[in-house]
Symmetry: C2
Subunit: 387 residues, 2 copies
């Protein structure tokens, strides 16, 4: 039982949106295939992985550092009983000769490759990845219906408030019950008008709407927006300031009465732990949004949930960033509070299986072996180009 080959491609996201900080038109993603020496039905068992949007493809780190270290140590690939791959052992190989700290592109590259290894490991066990993750984490009773929310509301010069409301209406029509929109890319007054237009669509129920500043605000603006939005009763106020400015975050948490949410740009267990220790986050109110497909992959995410428990946090406060089948599998296997979704964008990586539509704000975990990437036809077709 070993990995015979590791392949990757860099794929343009083709996503013409912008948030308050970046535009996505030049964004790329790494797709990875891990080819095992196990043949079933005349085909090798292959695991697939990719990183989430926002941090660019990582071919160089994968090809120059991670893949050679894995392939030169085939004796460390198999699980103790020889029936599958050992993803944690393979992750240790990837990190040989890597210094601690500095969790950036490396975390993204490891995530893409690690996900492919876990996908292969689940397929070799002939079980869904969510079930393998649950087993790994000792989570005996995962639920099958995972809450998802529709993240959109990007800025677009041609869209206007009418276009924003029409976009949100489409999400509701597709089965979502909770939506998220961007703020911070316009003036406060313009943003408040955008928020109120969407709230009108939602019958005034703020708990069905989250807003996302993408880390743009300084302390003064973060507090000013928080004060202006406090009466709306929003689901959460996301990334008010720089994701590593824990003091700013703590000040917003002390002043804003509703939930805040952050963490998608903290790419390691160590950074995640620092947020909980120093960011003023309130365990019974706020949300964390670490992204398994940016932050070292599946094993790190299992460890993050264990760290959260040690810091007094329920896994239900964890709503992973990413909006893809891997985040869904993690949310299922670890009984997180739900996961993000980007309806129609970041394709073909974004979204879930073709046969599990959103119904009443939830997506059902599938039964396919592995992460289920093959159950999304456009994604399957892209991943097959790696073979």
């Amino acid at each position: 039982m070993r990995i015979l080959g590791i392949r990757d491609i860099a794929v343009p996201m083709g996503a013409p949106m912008r948030n308050a900080v970046i535009d996505f038109s030049k964004m790329t993603v790494s797709a990875v295939a891990v080819i095992t020496d196990v043949v079933r039905g005349g085909e090798p068992v292959v695991g697939f992985g990719f990183n989430a949007n926002g941090r660019y493809a990582q071919s160089a780190v994968i090809r120059e550092r991670l893949a050679p270290r894995v392939l030169e140590a085939p004796e460390s690939h198999a699980s103790a009983d020889g029936t599958t791959l050992d993803p944690r052992a393979i992750r240790r190989l990837m990190m040989r000769n890597e210094k601690p700290g500095g969790h950036g592109e490396r975390a993204v590259a490891v995530a893409a490759l690690d996900i492919a290894v876990w996908d292969a490991a689940a397929k070799l066990r002939d079980m869904p990845l969510w079930a393998l993750i649950a087993e790994d984490a000792g989570n005996g009773a995962p639920e099958r219906g995972i809450p998802v929310y529709a993240a959109g509301g990007y800025y677009d010069p041609d869209k206007g408030a009418d276009g924003l409301v029409a976009e949100m209406q489409r999400y509701l029509d597709e089965g979502y019950t909770q939506v998220k929109m961007k703020i911070g890319g316009a003036t406060l007054d313009e943003d408040l008008a955008r928020i109120e237009a969407v709230l009108t669509l939602l019958g005034g129920d703020g708990s069905r709407l989250a807003v996302d500043a993408n880390g743009r605000f300084d302390e003064e603006a973060a507090l000013r927006y928080g004060e202006a939005m406090s009466a709306y009763g929003l689901a959460w106020y996301e990334e008010p300031g720089d994701p590593l400015d824990f003091s700013l975050n703590a000040q917003v948490a002390a002043a804003y009465p509703g939930a805040i949410a952050t963490g998608e740009n903290l790419l390691s267990l160590q950074d995640a732990r620092n947020l909980l220790r120093f960011g003023g986050m309130r365990p019974g109110l706020d949300f964390v949004q670490f992204d398994p497909a940016l932050a070292y992959g599946v094993g790190e995410t299992v460890d993050i949930v264990a760290m959260m428990a040690a810091e007094g946090w329920s896994a239900r406060r964890f709503l992973p960033h990413g909006g893809n089948l891997l985040a869904l599998a993690a949310a299922g296997g670890l009984s997180l509070g739900g996961c993000e979704s980007y309806p129609g964008v970041f394709q073909p990586f974004g979204g879930f299986a073709d046969d599990t539509p959103v119904e009443d704000g939830r997506v059902r975990l599938g039964d396919a072996p592995g992460a289920g990437f093959e159950r999304k036809a456009a994604l399957r077709d892209l991943l097959r180009t790696l073979l």
Copy 2:
């Protein structure tokens, strides 16, 4: 006034040592040239840069993300008076469409390119880089003799305590007065014997010896080593634990009576600030070691020193990691407490100008325009291969 081209190469370090965490035999570094449209003496004015050791070459980030963004906006390259480049404006171009947080390989790639831009900007002003940095930071009175210490004492199966003492003796013979050695790659008893052997060479003066654990220890080991070493009166105890485990760091600081030092693996202003805010660091006793050639370059380092002042820290407590001419220029221009040196290793990037030897533990800032890389023949020869 604009940048016409950006070139880079990945160079093997050829450094056969190991510390407690990694070995350096496969380490690479990016060397970068920034070619301006200004011609002097028949040659274009060119700036050079490179990243420090420990984080690998970053060709992909430079070529795919940073360089295209810089080269597509030539109207933003020049300073307001048109006499030189504007490194801060060029840095903003590099960071277009980059998300906040996740400071890893990107910080290293930006550093290499940013250093080349600052080197060119200083050459265009016909002034040494240390003087340009001093001007940028409003530091009116830089001293010319910079304290340096010899960092070595790596683990080597063939070396033994005798070899370690002989190595340290060579550093003293070369003009160093303070040395640093690795710990954490052997048992505590073995490491204490190694430390005591070097202390004997130094006449028992612990203030001339620092020890470096490279972030290897968990809390228990970090405290155990600290207790065992506390009577030696060492110059400092470096990176006891994971560089982002601020709670561990604070516990060591609370228990260990001497100075601790850390920061080389914190690759941004935000991470550096978190260390000072949450790491239990003692402003009058401990040292920080952020590396300008890993952490976004020169402008970020100027900003880090300003942040330190705002947090109540003297720049004298900052001893940059890296051991090269760029770190020396930063130490000079910002009146830091000194800088690291790796005698004979990490060549040709490590070390200082051929005509400024270490004398009585100090290296003199040179008068050559720019960072002075051309005054180190082996480095000059390598950098010229970029042209």
